[in-house]
Each structure stands twice: as structure tokens, then as C-alpha cells.
Symmetry: C2
Subunit: 305 residues, 2 copies
């Protein structure tokens, strides 16, 4: 029988990675109200927005206003995505506990994403990481397309490790490994984690799955079996996939909690609060979110309210 950890930590990334991939701009008042709901769910970390230039991510163009207006729960760590020094400056002015930097393990994906090669991106990240550390902030590095790239195909664990080595060398506190296009199956997760966990402390590694093809929960299980205890997820499975309209987004926090609590693993998060937050944002987006646990909960929810 498998031994499960006592506790698993969830970072709610719906307000950033989720909304970033939705076409609708959610009114700032609604966003703030929604993030405040999430802050009261028991979740310990929330990525509340992205300080990328508004031109690139219109749904998150109000990052500064959101950051200023959300009610900060002292039990919650607030992070935001920062692409460069300008973004970090805005994020620090607005208020963050953690700066999230990002890089793709695939050179072509990085190029298409931010118009720079991996080697051209390193000096930018180095400065941002050092500046954030000087400001006494923690830093998380997102490494995307760690399994497959929509342009290059299969990515090797060695490519991922090259990027992780560099980011840890610059001083990031933890790294989130992203199945950005949701292609991975558990055997790929096993292969990557065998390399990663022989090299880095498991406490510094976060797994970030997308459920584009319905594999995310199985990939989480495999990660847990290998000792991973930190995951990113989005309320309701917000987000979609930029490479396939209509496909599912981030693994849904609702499904993740159903799994973890069912396994007897504590998260500190109240499922009904996440359900309410999912129904709230689903209503604002005007579409059904892809979480299956939510679809199930919703029917029961409707019966009881």
C-alpha cells in the first residue's frame, strides 16, 4: 500500500494562470471580491495577478488595482508573476510576498512566449531574482513545457534540469514544473521526478499540471507517490489552453481537494468555500468550468440552496 504524506500545500493560481487564459475581462470589483473569497478558503498561497505588460495579457491589465484592493489575510502568502524589473517594481509597490518568475524548458516555446531565447532570458531573470531577494521577498521560478512543447515535441529531463540549476543558482526558493500543454502521462512524470528528486530537495519542487487531456489528477497521484507535496491548481479548472480552444485548463482545485481529502491528506482548505468561489467566477465568465467535481457539486449545491 502506498504511504501518503500528512499534508499537501496548494497554491491557488486561478486569478493568474486561470484568468490569463480566459477571453473575458472580469471586472476589477468582481475579481477583488473573488480573490477575497479565496483568501477565506483556508488556502495558504494565492497568485493574484501578473505584472506582465497589459498589452500581452489584457485579462490581467488591472494587476496593480487588484493588488491594492484585495484584503490581505495574514495567513495567506500572496504571489504575482513578474517578467522583468519593471514588473517587479510594480509588484513591490503593490504588495507581494513572493515574486514568480518564468522560463520555458523549450527554447522555441520561450522564444514564442516572450520573444527571447533561454540564454537571452537568463540575465533578465538573474536581475529580477536578485532584486526581489534584496527586497526580502521569496521567489518561485516557473519552468514551463517540462514534458512536451507544442513546437519541439518531447522535452528531456536534462533540459529541465539545466534551467532549474540556473534558477536555483540565481537564488529562487522553489521551482514549479509546468505541464503547460497538459500532454503528460504518469510515466513521463515518473521519469522527470526520478531525475529532479535525485538532485533537489522535494520541498523546493512544486508540480503544476494542466488537465487538457484529463490526465492531471493521475499525474498528481504519481507525483505524490514520488514524494511531491506542493501543487498549483485553479478554482473550477479555469484557464483553457491557448493551443486548443474549448479544452480544459489548470487542474481544478475542486478535483484536487476531492483527491487529497479522499486520500486522508490535509490541505487546510474548505471544499465548500472553493466550490462557492468556483460558482462565483463561473457565473461571471458565463460558462461552465471543466472541473468534474464542481459539475457534481453544482447539482447538489443547487438542490440545497
Amino acid at each position: 500500500m502506498c504511504q501518503y504524506p500528512k499534508h499537501v500545500g496548494i497554491k491557488e493560481v486561478g486569478p493568474r494562470d486561470g484568468l490569463q487564459n480566459e477571453d473575458v475581462f472580469i471586472d476589477t470589483n468582481d475579481k477583488v471580491k473573488w480573490i477575497n473569497m479565496l483568501s477565506e478558503s483556508g488556502v495558504k498561497e494565492i497568485e493574484y495577478s501578473s505584472f506582465v505588460h497589459p498589452k500581452w495579457i489584457p485579462p490581467l491589465a488591472d494587476a496593480r488595482e487588484v493588488g491594492r484592493r484585495i484584503k490581505r489575510n495574514p495567513d495567506v502568502t500572496y504571489s504575482a508573476l513578474v517578467p522583468n524589473l519593471k514588473g517587479l517594481e510594480h509588484a513591490l509597490e503593490t504588495g507581494i510576498d513572493v515574486a514568480s518568475v518564468f522560463m520555458s524548458a523549450s527554447d522555441t516555446h520561450n522564444q514564442k512566449n516572450i520573444n527571447k531565447s533561454i540564454d537571452e532570458t537568463y540575465p533578465v531573470l538573474k536581475k529580477v531574482i536578485h532584486e526581489a531577494k534584496d527586497a526580502k521577498k521569496a521567489v518561485t521560478g516557473y519552468v514551463s513545457t517540462v514534458f512536451d512543447c507544442p513546437y519541439e515535441g518531447r522535452i528531456s529531463p536534462e533540459q529541465v534540469i539545466d534551467v532549474c540549476d540556473q534558477l536555483f543558482d540565481y537564488g529562487v526558493d522553489s521551482i514549479s514544473l509546468g505541464d503547460t500543454i497538459g500532454t503528460a502521462v504518469p510515466s513521463q512524470v515518473e521519469a522527470l521526478l526520478a531525475s529532479i528528486l535525485s538532485r533537489y530537495d522535494q520541498e523546493k519542487i512544486i508540480m503544476h499540471f494542466h488537465d487538457t487531456r484529463g490526465m492531471a489528477i493521475a499525474n498528481m497521484m504519481t507525483s505524490i507517490q514520488h514524494g511531491i507535496t506542493r501543487f498549483d491548481s485553479s478554482v473550477g479548472g479555469l484557464g483553457g489552453c491557448p493551443y486548443a480552444k474549448g479544452a480544459a485548463g489548470n487542474v481544478a482545485t475542486n478535483d484536487v481537494l476531492y483527491l487529497l481529502h479522499g486520500l486522508g491528506i490535509e490541505t487546510g482548505i474548505k471544499e465548500e468555500k472553493i466550490q462557492q468561489a468556483a460558482l462565483y467566477i463561473q457565473d461571471k465568465l458565463g460558462k461552465s468550468l471543466p472541473s468534474k467535481a464542481l459539475a457534481y457539486q453544482s447539482t447538489n449545491y443547487k438542490k440545497t440552496v
Copy 2:
């Protein structure tokens, strides 16, 4: 690293367990055309309908006509659900290779389902099984609610084993263990399979998952890790849940194939054929099916046709 089997067998149950839980009656011509599509997908077994009285399952009221009209592929085993001797008689007249009988591991669920206790059902099943074997047909026993019952809650492995012992004693060739309401998490699968596989040959055990809360693929992975090599699934994730309108149904054959082929496990089934069959029935039902792999495939599919 986990060792995976070389081959896994899939029984397509969409025409029976899938349609049985849909509100729409699919025209018999369309059903026949659709089952013929499935017969050409490479799948080795199809459950084409149910010979339960039409009053109880109106969407499958045309079982006899469907059975008479489908084109039998000699490489495919055709099964149908039979509740009693009358049903078996109709199924044998119409043509089956396998008779599927069913029983719940929960007495209350069995009572609600067929208006008989487990003990009252045994003599009926015994006769049906013996009659089917006399007619030289194979028999599969479905045992439902093997993890949780909507009325009784948690079901113990001992309750499941009691029913399995009896059915094997009557002569069934294999048993399909159903997570009928889609509540199980992998730790429950581990616990049940530890008991089941210490008692019965793994080749005789089929796992039948519903994806009501998004756990089915993770539960399949756990089953594979424990040595299970036979699964039931439905094209597109047809079926829904009678206890929660709008919730997902059987685990989707599309998602199952994405997982198995990704793990390097052979099924003999062509993914594009299953995708076409899923899009066909989705169109006839007039609603999106819950398979995430299908949602992803559909967007690509639309681009290329």
C-alpha cells in the same frame, strides 16, 4: 519506476451503460450505425444494449432490433446486459457472445435498483448464469457500488467478496467491479484490490470506473499498478450520473486510450476511430460529452476537416 503491462483490454460500454443514463432516445438507425463504427475501431468487446424490460430503461427499448441489425465483426465479442431468464432468452435469440448479469454489493442499492434484496437476487442470477453457460455463452458479472453506495455509504471489501464468491461459484467467467457513483479515490482502489487480487486471478477482474468527480483516470492508474489489465469505458464519457444531473458518466474511452497509449500499453484500438464515434454520438445527443481528451481532440478535429 512502475512496470506496465504490454496490453490492456477495453470493453466499450457506451451503447449500454452510456446510453442507459442519457435522457435522449437515439434513433435505432443511428445507434446501429454508431455501433458499427465502434466495431471497426479495433476494440475487442462491445456491450451493445440491455435486455432489461423497456419500461425500466427506455433509451435501450430497441435492444432486440439493435442486436439484429448491427454488423457483427468476427474480431469483436458482443455482450448485452440480461437481468433474468426472459432477458437472456431475448438476448440469445438476438445474438450475444457474452451475457452480463448484475448485482450490487450494497443491499439497499440492489433493492432500489431492482426491487430485490441481494439474497432474493442470487437464485435469479444462478438460473441465468447456468442457462447462459448451457447455451455455451460466456458470462460476466457486474458488481456495482463496490466502493460507496449512495444509500449505505462506504462498502467494505468483504461485502464485495461475498458477492464475487457467489457469482464465481455460479460460474461467471469474469467480474466487473463498478465504482457506480464515481466516488472512489486511489486509496480505496488499493484497499479493494489488495483483497480481491489475493483471492482471484487478475485476468478475471475488470475495473469499471465512473468519472463523476474526475478521479477515474487516477483510479485506473492505481488499478494498472496493482496488475489489473481489463477495463470498461464509454466513448466520450457518455452516461451521466442518475444521482447528480449534469455530472460526468463512465470514464471516457478517449481519455483511457490517451493514458494507455501514452504509457506505451497496447489496446489495438485506433484513437481517431473512437474520436469519430464520440463526435457522432455527441451530435446525436445534442450536447458536449465530458471527455477532456475529446474536448481537446475536437478543436483539432474541427481545424482539419
